[in-house]
């Protein structure tokens, strides 16, 4: 069974759910933050905020919006890990954070293998901009690397050289960029792989521009690695339920989306939000707010808080303690995960459902 506490003292789950409902009902602007949960947990949390006219956000929104903002301002070309694995004759890795973000990346994309769908049937070419030295060295296949301390400038220069435009650079750098540009030109189906730690929106937009340029003559696409804590699944769920991504508020009784206004970190620090439901079921993440508001925490056992939350309810992990639907990085789709070690630990959906039972429809 799950452990629950009010002000650090053990209570029944029912008492914790009732107290949570009281806190949320008495708030002017409650929020759900963290939202590290499966599709079912996201569904009930978004519904709860709709009922309470609150707002919701995800702990890795910044990473999601680095890609999403480019998509909704310029566009996106992307593929699945399976397509990259089976078809890519050129892999363009960008950033030293890829294997840290996705430890299984090399195994999944098999860059050292021959891509079975490539007509030329040759070994892939692997390029890596701003590589992780250790990761690149560990591989048994050749990797062409390009070091940089300024990703913006490097991606812009590469795009310029791809289109034959002059750039202001030393001979060695120019030669390297031209080598890379040549590989991109001759790619049959290339895939650029990037993570969200190193690439901000400007880099992603430049990269999208480069991919668009390459597609004038040949095929090239992208594989953004996205974020953890089911950020992709929460994004999709939010999308179909409200039409919008996370950082959406129901303050007016209908969803409004603004990635600055409804950044819950900002809302807490500015005093706009006055109660929080924090959800983290994939790990022991806790909010880093300086300002204190009444806090209900749905977290795994042994999660450490600087200050004792008003309510704390222990939850299980999706796909481990209970079956779940979540976004899978290895497929690029939402998949069902069977529990690997079914336990009595409660799911977020069950706990939030209990809290919602104590909140009338016309709250």
């Amino acid at each position: 069974m799950s452990e629950a506490e009010i002000d650090g003292k053990p209570v029944s789950l029912k008492a914790a759910a009732e107290r949570s409902a009281e806190i949320l009902l008495s708030a002017r602007m409650p929020i759900v933050a963290g939202l590290g949960t499966d599709v079912a947990g996201a569904r009930v949390s978004i519904s709860l905020m709709e009922r309470l006219r609150g707002a919701y956000d995800h702990l890795q929104s910044d990473r999601i919006f680095a890609d999403l903002d480019v998509m909704r301002q310029a566009g996106l070309m992307f593929t699945t890990p399976s397509e990259a694995r089976l078809r890519a004759d050129v892999l363009l890795f960008i950033g030293n954070d890829l294997t840290r973000i996705w430890p299984a990346m090399m195994e999944r994309l098999s860059p050292g293998e021959m891509p079975p769908f490539d007509l030329a049937h040759q070994k892939r070419k692997v390029l890596w901009i701003a590589p992780s030295r250790s990761a690149a060295k560990a591989e048994k296949f050749p990797i062409e690397t390009l070091d940089t301390t300024n990703l913006h400038a490097t991606l812009a220069s590469l795009r310029a050289r791809f289109s034959g435009k002059p750039i202001n650079a030393g001979k060695a750098v120019l030669r390297k960029l031209d080598e890379f540009a040549e590989v991109l030109k001759n790619a049959r189906f290339g895939v650029a792989v990037w993570g969200g730690d190193m690439l901000d929106s400007l880099s992603v937009e430049m990269l999208y521009g480069l991919i668009t340029d390459i597609n004038k003559t040949t095929r090239f696409t992208g594989l953004p690695l996205g974020a953890e804590n089911n950020a992709g699944g929460v994004l999709q769920t939010s999308g179909w339920m409200t039409g919008f991504p996370m950082r959406t508020s129901f303050g007016r009784g209908y969803p409004e989306h603004d990635s600055w206004r409804f950044d819950t970190n900002r809302m807490i620090e500015s005093g706009e939000a006055d109660a929080a439901l924090w959800i983290s079921s994939y790990g022991r993440e806790v909010p880093s707010w300086k300002k204190q508001v009444p806090l209900i925490a749905l977290v795994p056992p042994k999660t450490k808080f600087a200050r004792v939350p008003q309510v704390r309810i222990e939850i299980g992990q999706p796909g481990i303690d209970h079956d779940a639907a979540e976004f899978a990085r290895e497929t690029g789709t939402i998949v069902g995960r069977d529990a690997s070690h079914t336990s009595e630990a409660l799911s977020v959906a069950a706990v939030v459902g209990q809290i919602a039972q104590h909140i009338g429809r016309d709250a």
Partner: protein, 544 residues
């Protein structure tokens, strides 16, 4: 609960009825007048039109591509009004909740999402679970998937193809099979920029025609009621009427459904090299009783095109308005999302608009032509009421046509067509015929024993208003709409088929997924208990 709809005009072409009569509903079914029992609830519907709930066979309402379109265009669907307490999220623009609410208020009770690739099936069913009131179904997209193309290349025979199709449809909980530009998405991955019926898919050495024929036959062999639902090659290209006619011929007299035919009704005549060829295409459809089509009518407004025809979508990114688009090279088909603004003053758009209406009016048999906008590609489904008005009223058409560039109108036969659909034909096209085409015996009519999906309309001069706000709508005998307003949510089923096949195919596919994708095939399974509502599916029998 015994409900009496008293004295309405019953329009029920399946049972050959168009008469003023009572209609009785009990426990989610339509029943004969019970003897010696008084109704619990009486609705006086004298002067109203009573039809079965409408069925939409082709509307993109869920799945990864649709959701991507939502996220691409936040500025195009702002919510403006608070949702009533009983209908949470119903005013959220383009949400699943709004989708079900608007469909129901128009008297639609079953809607088919026609393009779900197997690997996206779970997300699609999660989305469909959050569409209130209506029943749903998905068509499983095949025809660009390596396993199928390899089977065909290696000449493994039709039995293997049928087993694979059945295994794929079963795993994705689909109601039928969709094929989208057969081989075209794959050819695009090999940098082909155009792809027609007899073009060859690189690496596999197969033509589009061979893929279509194999899938069409598999669907027939498996006795899946809905014939192969085909999105043909060369969508949207001037002169593509020849492709459409060749595709009708390629059906070889066997059942085939051609989707959004308006987009293939183009000639290349006139100063602009773009003209309506609808008259010629309608004649071909009239001569091919084995073929059914849906129209894909365009309407003049902002929309977004969402299609798994990646090659076509890539080629239209230059026309995006607003200027942004998403191209996804997915497993098998993938998708492309390209926003588009259809304008009344635009020559091409005006011809397209006329092309669709010509197909509606020149295809003689209302059992052969289906009412769609290819939502949201031609127009959002919210434009349906206006389209009903256009096909039911010559005056409405004349008024709308007068606003168009006349050089565009002159490239069509529209002004010469006097036909007006009557209620009976509307009921055939939107109720009787869709149910027949999908193999749904329990709906689309008002006979005894039918599911009590009933729509009651208040006839009036304003046809669009009549169809936008149904007077009453019952879903499974539950009154969910009064005077165009949904009163409460209920949760419908997803309709699916369960075709029989040799389970050795499952073992073979398991090995293929492990070797090929490096992912267990079970990863993509759609398990009922993962979906939010109990008993989410209803099986439709495989029989012809």
């Amino acid at each position: 609960m015994l409900i009496l709809l008293k004295g309405g005009r019953i329009v029920d072409p399946v049972n050959g009825r168009d008469e003023v009569a009572d209609l009785w509903i009990e426990n989610a079914r339509i029943v004969a007048e019970p003897r010696g029992k008084l109704p619990d609830e009486v609705h006086d519907v004298s002067g109203k039109i009573v039809m079965a709930g409408a069925i939409d066979i082709h509307s993109h309402i869920a799945g990864g591509n649709v959701n991507c379109a939502r996220l691409l265009l936040p500025e195009k669907h702002p919510a403006r009004t608070p949702a009533p307490a009983a209908l949470p999220l119903s005013t959220a623009g383009w949400s699943t909740y709004q989708t079900g609410t608007i469909y129901a208020s128009m008297g639609f009770t079953t809607v088919i999402e026609p393009a779900i690739v197997p690997h996206q099936a779970l997300q699609a069913h999660l989305e469909l679970s959050d569409i209130p009131i209506i029943d749903k179904g998905t068509l499983t997209v095949l025809g660009n998937d390596d396993f199928l193309l390899s089977l065909l290349r290696d000449g493994e025979g039709q039995a293997a193809v049928a087993d694979y199709v059945a295994a794929s449809v079963s795993a994705s909980n689909g109601l039928g099979v969709k094929c989208i530009n057969a081989g075209g998405a794959t050819a695009f991955k090999y940098n082909e920029r155009a792809f027609s019926l007899d073009d060859v898919v690189p690496y596999y050495g197969l033509t589009s025609r061979q893929i279509v024929e194999a899938l069409q036959r598999a669907v027939i062999d498996l006795k899946i009621p809905h014939p192969l639902h085909l999105h043909a090659n060369n969508l949207g290209i001037p002169g593509n009427v020849s492709t459409a006619i060749a595709t009708i011929e390629a059906a070889r007299g066997q059942a085939l459904h051609l989707a959004h035919l308006q987009f293939y009704a183009y000639g290349d005549e006139g100063d602009r090299g773009f003209s309506s060829a609808s008259a010629e295409l309608a004649a071909a459809v009239n001569a091919a009783p084995n073929v059914t089509i849906d129209v894909g009518q365009i309407m003049f407004r902002q929309t977004v095109t969402v299609s798994a025809d990646v090659l076509r979508q890539f080629n239209s990114t230059g026309m995006a308005k607003p200027r942004k688009s998403v191209i996804h090279d997915g497993d098998g088909n993938g998708g492309g999302i390209v926003p588009y603004l259809y304008r009344e003053s635009d020559f091409v758009n005006a011809v397209q608009w006329a092309c669709g209406l010509e197909l509606f009016l020149l295809i003689n048999d209302p059992w052969q032509v289906f009412f769609t906008t290819d939502h949201p590609n031609g127009a959002p489904f919210t434009t349906y009421p206006e389209i009903f008005a256009l096909i039911m009223s010559r005056d409405a058409r004349a008024e709308a046509t007068a606003r168009l560039p006349q050089d565009a109108v002159s490239m069509t036969t529209l002004p010469s067509i006097g036909r007006e659909y009557d209620y009976n034909e509307i009921a055939i096209m939107t109720r009787a015929s869709p149910a027949k085409l999908l193999g749904l015996k329990d709906r689309g009519h008002l006979g005894e024993g039918a599911l009590a999906d009933v729509a009651v309309y208040s006839p009036g001069k304003d046809l669009a208003k009549m169809f936008r706000f149904a007077h009453l709508v019952f879903k499974d005998g539950d009154l969910v709409v009064r005077d165009g307003r949904v009163t409460h949510y209920r949760w419908g089923k997803a309709l699916k088929v369960n075709p029989g096949y040799d389970k050795a195919m499952d073992r073979r596919l398991a090995g293929y997924y492990d070797r090929h994708f490096g992912i267990p095939r079970s990863t993509f399974a759609v398990k009922e208990h993962i979906l939010p509502h109990a008993e989410p599916f209803q099986e439709v029998a495989c029989a012809r």
